[in-house]
Symmetry: D2
Subunit: 348 residues, 4 copies
C-alpha cells in the first residue's frame, strides 16, 4: 500500500533529487508537486533528466488543496518561506519533512540572530524533531514535523557524535571544523559566484566564521555533550557539483591520548547502515559516496601534536538533504529505514 | 529465483559499474568475480565506493572453476584477452555477455586490420549476437554469446537507425560523425594522457580518422541500410568523466528535405523504453542521462544548408557498457528488459 | 612614447583580459575605463585578480569626455550597444577596435536577419576592417575602425583559409564545422545555463544550426573563395572555462586527394607568428594555447572516406577576443604586431 | 647582458613552468636543459604548449658539461636525485636554485626521519639558504645554493609570519593548518590517484597528519618565533590543476583578542610586492592568483570562539615553485626582484 507524498518546491536541485529518489521507492507515489517559478510546467521541461516524469506538472505554491490526497509533504523551500507554509500543511493533518532551516533551531531568538528575521511559527519549534536518524531515530518515529538537518551539520555531527557521549572525550574548546562543499548546495538560482567560469580552478573560502549552519551544529553538539559549546566553523566552496567533506580537528581530553578511536567509531555506528567507518589506512573522498545516502568516516590521531582528525563525507543532496528526508519518512511510516535508499554510490 | 552471475575483470570501471547495477537488480546474485591486478582483494579495497560489497573478493582470471555456480558471465576484459577466455566459458555451458570488442566484428580479417592481431576464436563470430536491444532484440533472446556494443557505436547507431531502414533516406556518402567522450571510456590504467592536469581545461581530438570503433559502426550501419557504407568518424576527449555525445551530420536524399524527422524518430522508438526522443526545441546534454541507461536523441534540420543533425547522448559506462550488458542479460533470461535499470539519471 | 588607450565595458571577461594583456604591453598606458554595472568601482573590487590595478576606476558608459586623452578605444560592449557608442568615439577623432559583432557584417540586412535589430550606424560598415591580421594585415594598417572577429570565426577561418585561395581546393557544398567552446565566451552575466552545477560533466550542443557567428564566417569564407558559400556550423559548450576547438570537415575537390596538405598549411602560415601548424602526428588541445595569442592547427586526411579534417584551437578570450584586439592595435599604430603578446601558453 | 641559465629536469610541470617564465624574462637566456625520460627530444614534443621553444632539446641528466656556459642552474629534480646532482654543479662554480626538498631541512636526521633516506650531501646544508624572499631576502643575496621552499610551506609561512615576530602573538599549541592543493603539485608521472576520472567531483584528504612538508614548516616557524613549535598540518587534494589555499586556524595569546590584525598584516607586507593583503571583507580564491607569482592573504577574527583564521592562496607552480625560483635568481644576481614576474593572474 503506497504512501502518497507531495513536494513543495520541486524545481530546485533538492526537489529534483527527491523526485529521483522517490521514483525508485517501492512504497511511494508522488501525488503532487509545486514550484514558484515554474508553475504549470512539466518536470521534463524544468529538468530534462526527469523526462520519465512528464506526468508531474508543477502547481503554484499556493495551491494547497492538492495535498489533500497526500500523507506527507516534503518542503524543499527556502527558509522564511517554509515557516509560512508548514503550519498550513500541519493543519491539514499532513506529516511534514521540512528541508529548510526554519524548524532546526529550538530558540527563536537564535533564529532571529542568525537569519535576521523573526520566526513566524515559534509555537511549532518545541515539537519539531531534528531528523538525524542515527542519533534521534526514536523521536522521529512519532513525529509530525521533522526538521531535516543541514548538509554541513549532517557531516559534522556524524563525525563528532562518537566523541561526545557520556560527557565526551574531547577538549570542547578545541573544535575546529574545516568543511568543503560542492556548489549544488547553493541551489539553482543564477548568481555570478556560482558560474562555471568563476569556480573552475577556483577553490575558495566563504562566510569564514559566520555561516548559518554554525548554531545548528552547536545546538546538537551541546545537546549530545550535555553542556554548551561553541565551535569554529570554516566552510569552503569546491570546484565540483556534489559532495561535502568535513575535516574536524579536535583535541582528546588529557589522559585520552592513544585511545582506540577506530574501535569507538565502529562500535558507535555498528547498527547504522548508512554510516561506514573506513578501515584503518583508508580515507574518504566525496566521489566515493556520490549520489548515495552513505556516509564515509575516518579517524586519524596525530600523536606528534596531540590532535585528532575526523574526516567525513556525504553527498550533500542525498544524505545532506533528499536522501535523509526519505530516510526520515521511512521511519515515520514504520517502513524499513533503508527502503529505496540502498543504491550504491556512482563512481567514477 | 535469482540468476547467479560472474564477472571476469571486475576491477576496471566497467566491472565496478556492473557491480553497482547488479547489486540493485532484484533477480540477480553476484557469485564470482575475478581480476588480474587485484586477485585476492576485496572490492572495497579496489573501489572504496563499493564498501557494501566487501563480500566480493577478486579471484585470479585463471580461476574458472568458480563460474560453475553461475548461469551467465559478464566479460569486462580488454580485447585480445576476451577472445581467449570466452571460448572456455562457453564450453562450461555458460552464457556470456562480452563487453570487449572481440566478438563485434563479423569478419576476422577486418578485426586483424584494425586491432593488429589475429582472431583466436573466429569460429564463434557467426553465432555472436550484436547486443543492441533496440535493433536486435529478437536475436538476443536466443543467444549464447552477446557482443556488447562499443560506447561510441551505441550512441551513433541509435542516432542513425531511424534514417537507415527500408533503404534509407540519407545520402550515404555524407555521414560525418563528430563524437565527444568522457575519459572513463579509456579505463583506469594510469597514463599521462588521462591525468587530471592534462585534461582539465584541455578538450582535444584523438585518433582522428582511425578509431577502432569505425568498422563496428560501418558494419551495423551497412547491415541496416542493406549496402556497404563508410563513415567519417572523429572522436574527441572531454574534460569530464562520464558521457558520450555524438553529433551526426548527414544529408537527406534529394526530395526528402523538410521531412517530418521528429515524427520519424518518435515512431521508430515508440516501444524503446530507454531511447527518449526529445521534444522539439530541446537538445541533449551528457549530464541529463548520467548514471542511467537512458539515451536522449534530438534531430534538427538546417534548411539553409541542407544538413540534418542528429544529436544523441548516453552514459558510456551504462548504456555504453554495463547497463546495456544487463539489458541484454534480462532479454536472454526472459526477464523484463528494464529490470534493475530504471533508476533516473543523476543530475546535477 | 606610450599609446594611451581606453576601454569601454571593462567589467566583463573580455574587458578584464584586455587589462591583463595591456598591463604587460611595453608601449601602452590604460587611460580610461568604463562599466555600466560597476561605475565608480575600482577594478580589484570587480575582479580580485586585478588587485594590482586598483588605480583603474570604472566610469559610467556615458562619460565619454574621459576618452579625450586616448588615442584608441577598445569597445568590449554587447552588440547593439556598440553601434551606439562607436560613432561618437570616431567623431572624437579616436581609433576604435570594436570587439562586438556590430561592425563585422558588411550588409545591414544580414545583420538585421541574424541579430533581429536594425543597424544604427550602417554608414560605417563600408570602412570597418575585419581585424584578422593573418588575412587582412594590410587593410588593418590604415584603418580607423576595426571589427574584431568573433571567437568561433577566428578559429574556423584560420583553419580553412589555406584551402580557399585561388578558387579553393575543396568542395564548397561539404563544409561541416563542429565547434566546441569553453563557457567564458558566454560572458559573466549570471544565467542558469552557465552555472557550474549545470555544466560540469554536462557537455552539450546549443544553437544547433542557427548560431550568429554563421553569417560572419560565410562572409569571409566567400570573400576568400571568390564566390558565395554556405557552411554547416554546429557549436557546443564544453565543461571548461577557456578555449575553442573547431573540427572542420571538408572534402577535397576531385583530383586533389592526397595533396601535400601539411606543406600547404606550413607555407600559407610561414610568416604568421601566432599560427602554429603542428607537426604531422600531433593534434591540438585547448590547454596547449591557454592564456596565449597562439593558434594550433593540424590537418588530417582520411583516404578511406575522402574527408579532410582540419583542427584548430585558440583561447577564445585571447586570440578570440582581447589578444587579437591588441594585435590589431599594434598594426594600426605601426608597432611590431607581436608586442606584448608573446607570453607562452599556460599549461597545465 | 643576459644571464645564461640551465634547467635540470625540464620535462616535469615545474620544468615547463620555468621555461615559460624564463622565456619572458628580459635578462635571461636558457642555455641548457636536461631530462631523464625525454633525453634527445625537443620541448615541443614533450610539451606542445612550448612549440615556440623547439630550440630547447633535452640532454641526459648526466651530461653536466653542458652547464659550462651557464651561471646558474635550476634543479627541478625529485628529492634524492637532487642531492646527488647539486654538489657537482656547485663544484663547477655554478649557482644553484634547488626546487626539491633536499636542502630545505637543516638537520640531516630530520631529513632521514621524514624522507626515509640518508642525506648524501649534509655538508652543504649549513650554507643552503631557504629561498623565501619575503623573509630571507638578505641571505639570498649572497647565496650560492638556494633551497626553494615547498608549495605548502610558502602558503603557510607567509600566512603566519606576521604573527610570529618578536616572540609571537599566538598560542603556539593551537596551530591547525588545513591546506588544499591542486593536483599539478603531484607532478606528471602517471598514477591512478591522479587520473581525471578519480579526481573530478572527488575532493579528498591525503597523508593526514604525516605530510613531508610538516617539518619544513615547523623549522621556519620555529625560527621566526624563536622557540620550537609543532603544527597540525592536514593536506587535501582539489579537483583542479593549479592552486593552493591554506586555511590557518590559530588562537591569539590572551590579551591579544581584537587586535588590529588587518593593520599588522598590511604593515608587515608593506614592501612585499608579491604579497597582497586583501581589503577587509574580501577573501582569496585560487583562480585569482592563477599563473602568477602573487599571494593573496586575508585575516578574519571570530570573536565568538576566539579563533583567528588566516587564508592564503598561491599558484603552486609559480610562487610555490618556478616563480619563486626566478625571484630568488633575480635577487642572487642583483636584479630587480620582480623582473619577469609581474604578469597579472589569468582569470577566469
Amino acid at each position: 500500500m503506497a504512501i502518497t507524498v507531495g513536494i513543495q518546491g520541486a524545481s530546485g536541485y533538492t526537489g529534483a533529487e527527491l523526485i529521483r529518489l522517490l521514483s525508485a521507492h517501492p512504497q511511494v507515489e508522488i501525488g503532487f508537486v509545486t514550484s514558484e517559478r515554474y508553475a504549470g510546467q512539466a518536470m521534463d521541461r524544468i529538468f530534462p533528466h526527469l523526462s520519465l516524469r512528464q506526468d508531474l506538472v508543477c502547481r503554484p505554491l499556493e495551491d494547497e488543496s492538492g495535498f489533500a490526497s497526500c500523507q506527507v509533504v516534503f518542503c524543499a523551500l527556502p527558509h522564511e518561506t517554509s515557516m509560512k507554509v508548514v503550519p498550513k500543511l500541519l493543519r491539514q493533518g499532513l506529516k511534514v519533512v521540512d528541508l529548510s532551516a526554519d524548524f532546526r533551531l529550538r530558540d527563536p531568538e537564535v533564529y532571529r540572530e542568525w537569519y535576521k528575521v523573526t520566526h513566524e511559527a515559534p509555537e511549532l519549534l518545541p515539537e519539531a524533531v531534528y531528523g538525524l536518524p542515527e542519533i534521534y531515530r526514536d523521536r522521529i518515529k512519532g513525529a509530525r514535523l521533522i526538521a531535516n538537518p543541514g548538509c554541513y551539520p549532517t557531516s559534522v555531527i556524524l563525525a563528532l557524535a562518537p566523541l561526545l557521549m557520556d560527557g565526551g572525550v574531547i577538549d570542547t574548546g578545541s573544535i575546529v571544523i574545516d568543511s568543503k562543499s560542492g556548489v549544488s548546495g547553493a541551489g539553482r538560482a543564477p548568481a555570478e559566484n556560482k558560474l562555471f567560469a568563476e569556480l573552475a580552478e577556483g577553490f575558495r573560502p566563504y562566510s569564514t566564521g559566520f555561516h548559518r549552519h554554525t548554531p545548528e551544529m552547536e545546538q546538537i553538539i551541546s545537546d549530545l555533550l550535555g553542556r554548551e559549546v561553541r565551535i569554529r566553523f570554516a566552510p569552503h566552496l569546491l570546484p565540483q557539483t556534489r559532495g561535502i567533506l568535513s575535516t574536524c580537528h579536535v583535541r582528546p581530553l588529557a589522559g585520552r591520548e592513544g585511545s582506540d578511536w577506530q574501535g569507538r567509531f565502529e562500535h558507535f555506528y555498528r547498527d547504522a547502515h548508512f554510516v561506514r567507518v573506513m578501515k584503518p589506512g583508508m580515507l574518504p573522498a566525496t566521489n566515493h559516496v556520490r549520489a548515495s545516502n552513505y556516509v564515509h568516516v575516518a579517524v586519524v590521531e596525530d600523536r606528534r601534536t596531540g590532535w585528532l582528525t575526523i574526516l567525513s563525507t556525504i553527498d550533500n543532496l542525498v544524505k545532506g538533504a533528499a536522501g535523509q528526508a526519505v530516510q526520515n519518512m521511512n521511519i515515520m511510516f514504520g517502513l524499513d529505514e533503508k527502503m529505496g535508499l540502498t543504491q550504491l554510490p556512482v563512481f567514477p
